[in-house]
Every structure is written in C-alpha cells, then in structure tokens.
Subunit: 272 residues, 2 copies
Amino acid sequence: MNKIENYVGDCLQILKGVDSETIDLVITSPPYADARKKQYSGPCADKYVEWFLPIAEEIKRVLKPTGTFIINIKEKVVSGERHTYVLELIQAMRKKQWLWTEEWMWHKKNCFPGKWPNRFRDSWERCLQFNLQKKFKMNQDSVRVPIGDWAEGRLKNLSKTDKQRDNSKSGSSFGKNVSNWVGKKLVYPTNVLHFATECGNKKHPAAFPKSLPVFFIKLFTDKDDLVLDPFEGGGTTGIAAVELGRNYIGIDLDEKYSAIAQERIKKHLEQL
Amino acid sequence: MNKIENYVGDCLQILKGVDSETIDLVITSPPYADARKKQYSGPCADKYVEWFLPIAEEIKRVLKPTGTFIINIKEKVVSGERHTYVLELIQAMRKKQWLWTEEWMWHKKNCFPGKWPNRFRDSWERCLQFNLQKKFKMNQDSVRVPIGDWAEGRLKNLSKTDKQRDNSKSGSSFGKNVSNWVGKKLVYPTNVLHFATECGNKKHPAAFPKSLPVFFIKLFTDKDDLVLDPFEGGGTTGIAAVELGRNYIGIDLDEKYSAIAQERIKKHLEQL
DNA sequence: GTTCCGCATGAATCGATAG
DNA sequence: ACTATCGATTCATGCGGAA
C-alpha cells in the first residue's frame, strides 16, 4: 500500500518539514503570474522569480541527487508582448545550480477558442525539466508508444497502454484489447507531448490532464518512489501517482482545493 | 513579374545597401550556434547574441514599421543542458526596442531518429516573432484551416444552451455561443505549426520545409510585398516568396549555397 | 459489454469605456 | 496619463448517460 500525504498551507513552510534527499520527482504546475485572480491569488509577473526561487531552494534540498523537477508553465501576454518571467526563471534557476536539462512541449490539442487582431490561440505550454546532476533516473522504456499512431493520437495510445497494464495486474479478462497491441513495434517518444486538457468537472480551474503526470512519473520514477506536487490544485498529480503505485506528497495553499484533491485521490484509489 | 535579388556576402554588409523601411517580412533560420561546423561557420554559443544583435539592428532599419521579423531557431545541448543563448537573444532584442509578440512552435512531425541515455529526440523548434509596433500587418483569413471533424456531429443537434450565449461557470468571464459555428468550414489556426521536415536532395544541410515560410508569408504580407531572408541557405524562403507572388531579397555568405538557392528559385519560377 | 451521441468545460486577450 | 472594469471574440475534447 502506497503512502499518500496531503498538507494545507504555504508550500515553503510545509516543505521545511520534509526530509532531505527523499523525493524522486517533483512535478507541478505553479500558479501562473496574474492568472485566474478571482480563484487563485497568483504572484504578479514582475516578481515571479523572486517569489519562486525560495521554493525551488527547498525543493532542491528534498530532491534526491538523481531526481527530476518538472515545471509546467506558460507566460501570459502583457500589452501585446509575451512576458519574459519564464525566461528569467530558467536563468535564475541555473544560477542556483539547477541544470536546465530539457524543455518539453505540451501541445494542448483543445486550447481555448478566441480571436484577436494580432495573435492566434495559444495552444502550447512549457514543461521545464531541471536536474541536479547530469546523470539522473530515466526509465525510457516505460513510455514507449506504438510506432503507428505516432504523430497523432498519442494520448489515446498512452491511456490504452495504461489500461492494458492495470488490467493485467488485476487479472481481469481484457484479452481482446491486449491482442490489439501484440506484435506492434514500440518506439521512444519525442519531447513534444500531445494531450488534450481535461474538461470534466474537477472543481478546480487549472486543467492539467492526468496523462501529463502519468508520462513523467513513468519516465522519472520506479514503483514505490516518492512524488511531490507542491501546488497540487485538483490533485491530478496525486491521482497519477497512486495509479502507478508511487508514494505521494501533495501541498496546496487553499483548504478547499486540498479537500477536493484528497477526495479525488481517495475515490480513484478505491476504483483501482 | 516579381523582383528577385540574390546576394553573396556577409549580410551585415549587404543589408547596408538595402533602403530603410522597405521590407514587409524578414523570415530566416540563422546559423545555429556551433552547429554543422563543417558546412557553415556559425558563431559560437557564448557569443551568439553579440554576433546577432548588429544584424538585428540593420534589419530593424530596413523593416517597415508594420513589418514582422520571424526567427526560426532552437538551442543546442551543451554538456547535458539546453544552452540559454536563445533566451538571452529574446531579452537582448527587447532591450533594443523589439517587441517579442509571440513564440510560435514548429512541431517537426518527422524529426531525426536517435537515442540518448538522458533525453529523447528533439521534435520542435521555436519561431520567434518580433515586431516594431503593437499594430502590424496580419492577414489572419489567409491561413485559415478546415474545421475539425468534431463539428459535423456536434453541430447537427443544438441544445438550448448551444443556441444562446453560455457563460463559463468557472468565473473566467468566458462565454460562447455554439450556434455561431453552424455552417463554418474554415477556422483560425493556433500558434502550434505541424510541418514535416523535407528530406529531399537539397544540397544544403539546414532545411526548413517550404510550408513554414509559406505560412508566415501569407500571414504577414500581401501580394507584391517584399520578403527578406538574410541567411537564405537553400533558398526555401525565396521559393515560397515567388510562389506566392511576393518580391524577394536573399543573402548568403557562401557562394556555393547562394548559387544553389538561385538555381532552385529559378527552376521553381519556371514551373509556376 | 460496446458504441453512440449530447454537452459542459477550459491558466485568454483586446479595445472601449469609465473612474 | 494611467488604471479598473466590461463586453466581444471563438474550438475541440473527454465524459457520462443512453441505446
């Protein structure tokens, strides 16, 4: 049985109670600057780095040397220009000894509609990968995808392989589904991830599809490893973690969202 | 008949001979830092900004105030980390009064195969959009794409809420009227561009597919406008420009590549 | 058990107007 | 002049209930 812990409060404070070098993967979507002010008091764009850096320092302390830190983020438009706080964040993290190993691209297949005179809809977000060492844990084989539907429909393939894996454990009779994949060649994915945002009722505004943490948890952790999300929001990272048999620590400032996250994780656990 | 000019030499020098405020669109893929050393003497990563900035200044002079500057670029990996010269370039350009209007993502559908212990294949590149004014020329209708398959089924039977304006419940002040989409065939694209790289025999190593400049030329210029590529390489921008009835100026340092570009453009022109 | 179909939902941005 | 608020704009998906 995996360990699940949920905390309410400022993650900077809560993190001080976490033991050093115990986390295998931190994956989070921090509040975007100035975004969703009505629901979430996000930091303002001009002081974003200043606000984030102390948190990153605590994360550095609790992360194992072979661990990985994934930040899902996107800059907003301010008076016709993309703001530069994400670029500044990358540079500031590097000054604090973080290695900017990779920038994954999350292509949001169902992005917001809208029309403006000088731009089109924003259909992608960054997933910044930071590490503490050049060598880190990476299970490349765990995220291979069928060679056929490679460019399109990655999400569907992933979720199907998920099902296949879960069902084989519980011994249920999904033999037909499994046979679909027998003999299909598996290849490694690229650094572009095609996922649709989930639009079911999560009672939380930030839509972060489960497939996203599932991908990174499979890739950067083993079974029973420890995953942390310091801004858990609707608890999607937690759901992905328990589904994959990982231990999990989730933190959120908002008591209401924390309760929702716990409820969703509990419910998901029961269904497994 | 459109005007086509090709120059061999250092673009910084050649550009000095171009009249001020005459170019409608600059689109180029500058030599990547340290990349392809055998073919192209690109600048080294640590001095990339220093090398590029004077060229950007000349481009600023020749660009019309309503014009657009598109840079196709991607940072390379240096000792396990993504280098930060592209981030620095964006910040340096902004200090020189360029507006960083948008970052388009080019998803390379058929990227190079390969496997490394700590990363997957790189399947995307940045297309940085810079402007001199908040208002610039943008022909959004010229690049519309067919509406998704969802529309056919979704719009057949409209519910009550579909027929009126329906505001989002999440408090994002976002609403929509689904009935507006009835009968619509074309919709606006997003800022994610899906193009396969061309692997035909072009005798030049750095190839972006024709579809890339075609998209931006349609979007940011009218017929008979003037397009510039200061690092034309195989001349793909030129081919796209003549095909779309735009005037074109191409520059390349290498006499051999310039000859190839001229030959390809000429051949393409004959086929039109 | 499986497919089909209806439908709510989502990290938005700009320009005009008002204070 | 500078800031706050408000209205206008427009897609694609996964989920859940029904067949």
